[in-house]
């Protein structure tokens, strides 16, 4: 049977069981959109391609399935790139499709032409330009396979408009094999044995776990290993939810805004077991001062390039976290490490995460209250900045795939569209977007997408009227010279000002309540601490898209903090 490229596109996605595609049409994707009109999958029209990419990402992170987004050539493709780079840094399975000008015009600076495969090459796991319709079904099949297997990541498929129109016999490759791409899943038996021996002989072990544990659904094996061998666990931002937050072995997050207990556990451990984590600079602090007592570093990761890239591992195990952990479990002996556990319990008790408990409304209080009300079971997405770190600290996520945040790239504008993607995938779950007043404005146009499609996410804006994280660094490391961080600032302001809420400050815009209402969402403003609990309950139970703005303390800081370039135990717990 002869099909056009556009028909092959729809047929291929159907066979891959794609439920939903996010995107925006345009000139060079008209043939495909004509077929999408009749397609069996849902198409969500976004208001910006960046929104589409983050929605596909949120869909993928919350389900473990491949997220799909679609844009036209040129500006459509370039608008996707931030979302693709975000997914790449956090190893999220995604396939991005772009239209391209006709093959005869490629390279001619045609209207809406951009070298999409060239632009995206450093931010994708792989990409394709399909120049022949006979390659299309095979390429789409390969794209999904590559995105989903090994260390997951985004794959882009660029399809020129004439290829969408051309016809050929449709052939569907049920199985796919790429001779030059063979990810390793099973860990090497002798390395697994060495790892188990190191665990059995350690006195002060720590499990340092990252997003790879979520990708491989290895949370049950992780908990088993930790409990059997008496090993405390610290999770990175990407791994939030893989370990019960109230567990006595749980240390919280490590690194720059990690807990005192987690950072000191790393610095005092004699064995670090890294699982699906990549020793990112935000986690290790100064490399030269990292984990000075660790005689052994076991590094379990599916991506060999992650091993010994930043920190040397003497017991590397390449492969899938789930299968390797279950193999290791067979060789590990029961252990208690009473002294070590007593030590970390003492750190946890003496240096808990905290904030000032007075009458003022602080973002930490809002997030902590949200955590209590939801029991840590909501899907929480965040934007990037102070509110993101407070969410990491004070929202006690109970389950994997329930905390979605741009960890690697740190993309402001991620959280809201990602929340929409997650809600589409999980319509029965509460999806709550925790945002800052700076970040939310980077993709606020997606309110239209949420409202029109009745994707009832709840957006909580922690409005401190600043680009707060940058302000914090300026306060701590740049003598409080607040340069370009005040979101009140107008041309009437003095050129230098460090007084939040100074008399005669220009009015804050936008009025988020009115913005919400203009889009047909419910807008709320909460300025008193005493109103928070009631408001949150109302927001969560509302059967609508809600944008709730919390007017929080403007100059609150995220603590503790390991300053950039310091070692993990040079942690600052309070600003005197």
């Amino acid at each position: 049977m002869k099909l056009t490229g556009a028909q092959i596109f729809v047929e291929s996605l159907k066979r891959l069981n794609v439920e939903v595609v996010f995107g925006i049409p345009g000139g060079s994707v008209l043939p495909i959109f004509d077929k999408i009109y009749d397609a069996p999958f849902k198409f969500i029209l976004t208001r910006h391609e960046q929104g589409a990419a983050h929605m596909a990402d949120g869909y993928a992170r919350s389900t473990g399935r491949v997220g799909v987004c679609f844009a036209t050539s040129g500006p459509g493709a370039t608008n996707l790139t931030t979302g693709i780079a975000t997914a790449y840094m956090d190893s999220i399975p995604m396939v991005a499709f772009t239209g391209q000008v006709a093959t005869t015009l490629i390279g001619n600076d045609a209207f809406q032409e951009a070298d999409t495969t060239g632009i995206t090459r450093p931010i994708v796991k792989h990409n394709y330009l399909v120049k022949d319709v006979r390659e299309l079904s095979k390429t789409i099949r390969a794209a999904f396979y590559i995105a989903f297997t090994g260390r997951p990541g985004p794959v882009l498929v660029d399809i020129p408009v004439d290829v969408q129109r051309a016809t050929c016999d449709f052939e569907w490759p049920e199985n796919i094999e790429i001779s030059s791409y063979k990810p390793t899943y099973a860990g090497h038996p002798s390395q697994i044995k060495r790892a188990a021996e190191a665990i059995n002989s350690s006195k002060k072990p720590v499990l340092y776990v990252g997003g790879g544990v979520i990708s491989s659904d290895a949370s049950p094996e992780l908990i088993k290993l930790s409990e059997l061998a008496g090993i405390p666990v610290t999770a990175t931002l990407m791994a939030k939810g893989v370990y019960p937050p109230s567990h006595k072995f749980y240390l919280g997050m490590l690194g720059m805004h990690g807990t005192y207990a987690a950072n000191h556990a790393m610095q005092n451990a004699d064995l670090i077991i890294a699982v699906g984590s990549r020793f990112d600079d935000r986690c290790t602090g100064k490399i030269a001062g990292f984990a000075p007592h660790a005689a052994n570093i076991i590094h379990i990761d599916i991506d060999p390039t992650s091993i010994s890239k930043n920190v040397h591992s003497n017991i590397p195990v390449v492969g899938d976290a789930k299968s390797i952990l279950s193999q290791i479990l067979k060789h590990v002996k029961k252990a208690v490490h009473a002294d070590w556990i007593a030590k970390i319990t003492e750190w946890k008790k003496n240096y808990p995460l905290t904030y000032k408990n007075d009458d003022k409304l602080r973002a930490q209080y809002v997030i902590e209250t949200l955590s209590e009300i939801t029991g840590g079971s909501a899907i929480v997405t965040t934007e990037v900045g102070q509110h993101q770190m407070w969410s990491a600290q004070f929202y006690k996520t109970e389950y994997p795939r329930h905390f979605l945040s741009s960890g690697g790239l740190g993309t402001m504008g991620y959280g809201f569209p990602a929340g929409i993607g997650a809600k589409i995938a999980n319509p029965e779950e509460d999806v709550i977007v925790i945002a800052g007043d700076g970040s939310i404005q980077m993709n606020i146009q997606e309110l239209a997408t949420a409202v029109l499609n009745k994707i009832n996410v709840k957006v909580l804006i922690m409005n401190n009227q600043y680009l707060g994280m940058v302000r914090q660094w300026q306060e701590m490391f740049y003598s409080r010279r607040y340069s370009a961080v005040c979101l009140h600032k107008s041309d009437e302001c003095p050129s230098k000002c460090d007084e939040p809420g100074r008399k005669g400050c220009p009015r804050y815009i936008p009025d988020f309540v009115k913005v919400a209402e203009a889009y047909g969402a419910v807008g709320m403003r909460i300025s008193k601490k005493s109103e928070v609990k009631q408001a949150l309950k109302k927001i969560i139970s509302a059967n609508a898209v809600v944008v709730a703005e919390f007017i929080v303390e403007p100059e609150e800081n995220v603590l503790p903090m390991v300053p950039s370039g310091a070692a993990l135990d040079e942690i600052i717990t309070s600003l005197a």
């Binding site: 090459r121 796991k125 390039t305």
Partner: protein, 158 residues
């Protein structure tokens, strides 16, 4: 330390760009890069000469392997191999220097492949040391232009 790395890649559109993007993005330094078809037209071989310590080389090798279009990566550092580089050197010539230049070319088993009244093009093949030595000797006569292929390498038969 200088390493000669042999990379077998799918002979596909954009592969060279992927490799060069990788080296640029990761801050690896390429001394030379040569690429061409192998005995199998679907496969190309790249010979990349790269400098770095063991840690960098480990990353180079792993990162190359991670690219989907890369079939095989081999560091030739401790492998018995044949390495060749080819240079075309346009050197200034006049009556007084001609015979001396011819002698040098002869000793190096190089060839004169073009002659004009005031210059000659010398073609030389060999390992890098040989090329460097010849270039050093020709320099005093005046090298007008030079082009080199970059190293290509292949493992010796067992």
């Amino acid at each position: 330390m200088k390493h000669t790395i042999s990379v077998l890649v799918e002979n596909k559109f954009g592969v060279l760009a992927r490799i060069s993007t990788l080296f640029a993005a990761r801050g690896f330094n390429i001394d030379s890069l040569a690429v061409g078809e192998t005995e199998n037209p679907d496969v190309s071989r790249m010979t990349i000469v790269v400098r770095g310590d063991d840690k960098i080389l480990e990353q180079v090798e792993k990162q190359l392997n991670k690219l989907i279009d890369v079939i095989k990566v081999r560091d030739f550092l401790e492998v018995p191999r044949v390495e060749r580089d080819l240079a075309l050197i346009k050197v200034k010539v006049d009556k007084t220097t001609r015979s001396e230049i011819l002698q040098i070319v002869d000793i190096f088993r190089a060839n004169i492949v073009d002659v004009s009244p005031d210059s000659a093009i010398v073609e030389v093949t060999g390992d890098e040391d040989k090329l460097e030595a010849l270039i050093k000797l020709l320099k005093p006569f005046g090298i007008k232009e030079m082009v080199r292929t970059g190293t290509v390498a292949i493992a010796r038969g067992k």
